[in-house]
Symmetry: C3
Subunit: 436 residues, 3 copies
């Protein structure tokens, strides 16, 4: 049984969540308005309603990104047999907090005044900012409390927005699909946190750290929605026209090539040649990550496919051979294998961007600055994640004891299952969910 002293969230979690929400609402009251066509105060009625239509043009792409954040990331993590409530539920909580905080953080960096004018584009960028935390969440999934996740969300998005500003505005680097600023950043931030929070009690694994048949199918909902909408992720903030068109096509092709290679390598590295669901759920997406930085560049369709080819290979090989080594040698317990899905392919994406700009695939961008952006993203993430890890290591955040890791029931009311019949209920059981 969990100790109530350590894990009962009844006051610390609600108070923190409500205080954060009140603070955010006050900040929005002071700083945030609607963008209007005249760049005015957001409080006037415009005589000409036609101009803001451009604000609504990216709305379908926003919704695709929105689906990736809430369905994609949420369900991808439901692969664990008894951690689905947390995966999809706390994913939603983190993203809902993160997007509000992201609007403030990005708004202050983007605007020259304190005043922030919201558009659909702000919503796309806010959703992007939450992706970093959700990636990091994958590295520590099952081992930290909702309270810790709220704290990590605020800190990581603050640091992310700062690094993003550095990369885009100071270094003038190109990263349209955010291989560096989101994927590599989120992965290495999360891995640094996981390193600090290393649990030696889990070094031999945990009974709940695996899937069951249907949890693997739920996870595939996440995989497929991420895979399908990735072209929107990589093109949503691209310059309209040729660049955006290229970002769509390149991502589509990179992902397609990646799927074949991920399936092939998954079979190749297994003695009996069988496919492994972990690889299919994750490595098929590596092509979307890796083509991110140069998605809108003139890399030719076959160039995009080559990137997907390499990404699918290294991601699958990473899951098979690198994750166990990270855990045993480097004491990094990476629950979802974010290093293989976001870390390595994010690095690959950064390197591809350096090569592409050096070959002139996007005018006015310098390979040196691309390299500096990659170094900044990884370096800031490692330092930020390490410091955040030490803060989260303080003993009073309600973190679960080792034996209750990867178990929803420590933070959730979980319906009782009938002992005799298994998951498929018949009419004769008498288990009820309270308040249902």
């Amino acid at each position: 049984m969990p100790s109530h002293y350590t894990t009962n969230m009844r006051f610390k979690f609600p108070i923190l969540a409500i205080c954060l929400e009140i603070i955010i609402i006050i900040l929005f009251g002071v700083f945030v308005g609607y963008e209007t066509n005249d760049g005015g105060s957001g409080h006037g009625h415009s005589g000409n309603n036609s101009v803001p239509d451009k604000f609504i043009t990216p709305y379908p792409m926003f919704q695709d990104v929105h689906v990736m954040i809430f369905v994609g990331f949420g369900f991808l993590m439901t692969f664990l047999k008894r951690y689905g409530f947390t995966s999809v539920g706390i994913n939603m909580l983190i993203a809902a907090l993160g997007l509000q905080w992201g609007i403030l953080m990005q708004g202050w960096w983007h605007s020259h005044s304190h005043s922030i004018k919201m558009t659909v584009l702000s919503m796309i960028n806010a959703d992007f900012s939450t992706a970093t935390v959700l990636i990091s969440f994958g590295a520590v999934l099952g081992k930290i409390s909702p309270v810790q996740m709220l704290i990590m969300t605020i800190i990581e998005i603050t640091i992310f927005a700062t690094n993003e500003h550095l990369v885009v505005e100071i270094l003038k680097a190109s990263d349209v699909g955010a291989s560096m600023t989101i994927h590599a950043f989120g992965a290495y931030f999360g891995l640094a946190v996981a390193r600090v929070l290393y649990r030696s009690g889990l070094r031999n694994g945990h009974d709940n750290e695996g899937s069951v048949y249907h949890s693997d199918l739920f996870a595939m909902i996440g995989t497929i929605f991420l895979w399908m909408f990735w072209p929107s992720f990589n093109s949503a903030i691209a310059d309209a026209g040729i660049n955006q068109h290229r970002a769509i096509i390149n991502t589509y092709l990179s992902l397609a090539a990646c799927v074949l290679v991920a399936f092939a390598v998954s079979s190749l590295v297994q003695e009996k040649g069988k496919l492994d669901m972990v690889h299919i759920q994750n490595a098929t997406l590596a092509g979307g990550v890796a083509v991110g930085t140069c998605a809108d560049m003139n890399i030719s369709p076959y160039g995009a496919m080559l990137i997907g080819f390499v990404a699918g290979s290294i991601s699958t090989v990473g899951f098979k051979f690198l994750t166990p080594v990270l855990a045993s040698k480097m004491k990094i317990q990476d629950t979802c294998g974010v290093h293989n899905l976001h870390g390595l392919p994010g690095l690959l994406g950064g390197i591809a961007g350096i090569i592409a700009t050096s070959m002139g695939a996007k005018k006015d961008y310098s390979p040196t600055m691309q390299a500096a952006a990659l170094a900044s993203s990884v370096g800031v993430a490692l330092v930020g994640g390490t410091l955040t890890g030490f803060l989260l290591k303080l003993p009073f955040w309600g973190q679960p004891p080792d034996q209750n890791c990867y178990d929803d029931s420590i933070y959730w009311e979980v319906p009782e299952e009938e002992e005799a019949h298994g998951g498929s209920a018949h009419g004769d059981q008498n288990t009820l969910k309270s308040d249902a």
Copy 2:
């Protein structure tokens, strides 16, 4: 075993469904054509194909609403352990019938002639009209037959279209996201039906009135898709330009604030501080309902977030404390808690609209008329629902006996599960679905 006399649907259900479909097709044959750019007969070819492009502009928003109706409502109700086939299947049936009937009902009210000209906008409005029935469905889920649902669909949409006409055309009230005309209306209509159909035999609950682990995850598919696409619901019929842009932003922010508060209050009201899936599945959506009426008004971003904050609180508190009282004191057995998700937040939305218009947030709209619209929506729903309830109480509609409530197998062929092994099948069982 159910009595075949009462629940065998073999002739009453197919005959009713096919007769309804034939009648509808005849009415479409007489009254319904395509809208064309010249406002012509729908049978001529236009020389200028460019004008109807405006008809297709709202198509992506239509699809978002479509997903909410069919995936959102359908899967949200799959939380019951043995009622998923009905939830997602009969949801589809009701919506497919309702949208056809809605085109006729709304078309006749909207057009000045008998002739109805269809556009994508008609499809959005038709989908909206089905939402009222699906909300009411949640109040009576598990306790009525498919035959009863077909009847309720026809009656409720007819009354809904009349009240909507009254609110929009006569009272000239504003209700862009339909907090009043859809959410409050659908909830109180359904609750009135549930009151008339009160089953004392279920006053101590029912073995099947609860969830299992995976049914709660299926329900989250519904929750997340509803949550993501709610900005489309609230903005789909807004005036293009500034108003639509505001409706998107306000709904996005209200929902985000609502999530944090729903999680916080869910933990706060539980002794051990644990989160309750029922709250997360439902109360996180209350912010979308409550911001509906004033979504397109100039209420400022923080105003939208305040609405979401209050909605998340009252909805969660309602699930915890009000639903049991409704059942025991007022004899209203509200299966899905629609009072907490649509009723209370719908009222809140109506009140927010009164306050917002009184503060001048939307020109040319009067708080008095907003109040009249709210009263009309609730009053018409209660009267209409009560009368419908008495009609549905007639004994020959195939309603299930108490012991077969909340059980798909009374109206569906349900695959046999192996007795010994539970839901996860192994290769050695010998249960087959007929005709599969």
Copy 3:
């Protein structure tokens, strides 16, 4: 236990997949570039970025089609109790390979030079081409190996593109929603393959050839997404303006009418009047298939609904009465019943197109040529499928022995389920997924 000699895919599958991907990348390197506004080489920067916006206009419709291919087809086939990994996983593999091959095949037929210029429209058409293989996949599901599926994908898409060219360019027939060129073609191709691969050992059924409760719910995810987005499928390549608008409306109405009839007939043909999930999962979609050919024609809304009415009837009746006869008399074991969902409704769609053009519903199209297109699609499919079947019958493609059909574990690592407790895991089991 399966024989490792026959079914271990370790080398044959990865080598085939990687070789195919390498060949495709080389062909893309030689032949494929981006379309640009000046019709140039795809390597120049355009001074005017506004023209390619037209390339991005169909992007939301592309995403709807994309969801149908990857979520719709993938999850629809998860109804089998132990074949969900293959259904959604190999579906993804086939589609990812198919879309790359489709771009090449269609590009060569469409362009007058060897050079292929990609746009979002190419992506829509490429996704379409994969649908044929996924339909055929449904006929042989559970009985063939991933290696066989890769081979079938390459061959079927090659033949499909040739037949499509014949229908559209030579016969000048109209088939906007592809009732003939995709649905009838894919169904009869797959049925011909299934006929050649007939397994007498399965003539009395198989223990795994059925569903469990939750697998039927997973399948409904596929059904609902297919149903919702079918208007996009049938209108995606229609001429912008009136034609596209009609295609949307007609498909929406045909599907709605089809749902009522499919439910009604499902109840009618069953002694106890109960609904059958197989019918609901499949026959509700037949209206989308059958209205495909004449979706953009001026058939009036009630005409579309009549098509849906007939399609829902024949599809449900087909599942109930025809599928068993096909298996026993004609030795065609049609796992998913694609004959009822795609074959018969595809034929109906072709016939509806002949009737509609003969009544002048689309100018410049001839009923004779429509009939020729239908005959060509079915004939080419039957011949192509038969020849492909004989190729796939060669004994070294790793096909499963009869007793391992419909079982993921022959090609996948499948998590062990706890013997005593069933699918819902408790904290005390000790089963782990390797490499998870």
